[in-house]
Subunit: 154 residues, 2 copies
DNA sequence: TACTCTATATAAATCGTCTATGCAACAGGC
DNA sequence: GCCTGTTGCATAGACGATTTATATAGAGTA
């Protein structure tokens, strides 16, 4: 392989990844706000959560999350359930339709990338394949930092 | 070297890239809408453009672009100039402050990625470095598709 | 000149977000 | 078993970004 090529600086890696990120997000369907999608996704990954907890995690104000959940509930993507231990709290649960929505959206986003792979050279495709683990790790690290920052603020 | 590792499907590449893209965009400052940032960026890359042209390129309605440009102009990031050939038209030009804003935003976005690199293994960093060209190509292909779709619609 | 098309702006509505505030339930001290 | 303070969520009102529909003004042409 391959690293016989020109030096690549950290900055270049950062710019390339970030530029692609913006391009991808711009091409996603705008049928729902980024925050709503992220909230649904969090519920799928983490299970039921309280409204205030979600607000902190997603970095929005609590009344914004209340409104957001109300809209998702109207659309049948989540449900509010009573918390047996604390009757003030509402446990927000994702429905099957919500899971489907998240899965579909992920598929569409991934498709934006995979549909371009045919236009790449074999070397480029294999370079991407080899970078998948690293891309996942970068994502994990960033997600960890975000949640850390969120809990620190509250 | 290195593709001695497990097979990586196209889907996995797509999912990894898309998931990272979402995470990155969520962590960017929200001082300006994605559309505004994209518009500024287009003006920097392509030079002065008309309002309607920008609306088509960015995929928003023309009145939205008028409002957006008005806001950017108020903030000193763009200027409206008369088109000598057509007095109906307004040529939107990015100012130095606008260029600075775009450069700074790009720097911040790239930094989200580069700041994680230290936590990666040497193999992961080098895999990312080797994938930079491919990432750039994917972005170019996607951008081309977007603009193509935009002009087709009008 | 008048008719039509084009470039932009304005108007009114919708949506997502915010801050400020209200209300109900929990929790600890007495 | 109450008060009092705190916590979890909802409501109210405002703002900003977006939309569609429409108005205005210049350009091009018969």
């Amino acid at each position: 392989m391959l690293t016989g090529m020109a030096e690549v600086s950290s900055d270049e890696i950062g710019e390339a990844v970030y530029a692609l990120a913006t391009e991808l997000v711009r091409q996603m369907p705008r049928d729902m706000s980024l925050t709503s999608v992220a909230t649904l996704s969090t519920l799928v990954r983490r299970g039921p959560r309280r409204v205030t907890e979600l607000a902190v995690t997603e970095g929005v104000a609590q009344p914004s999350m209340t409104a957001l959940i109300t809209a998702l509930e109207r659309d049948g993507l989540v449900e509010r359930r009573a918390d047996p231990r604390d009757r003030r709290a509402a446990l927000v649960t994702v429905t099957d339709a919500g899971r489907d929505y998240v899965a579909n959206r992920r598929r569409v986003g991934a498709e934006l990338v995979t549909s371009t792979l045919a236009e790449l050279s074999e070397a480029e495709r294999s370079a991407l394949a080899d970078a998948v683990d690293a891309l996942r790790r970068v994502r994990e690290i960033r997600a960890a930092h975000r949640e850390e920052a969120a809990t620190a603020t509250r």
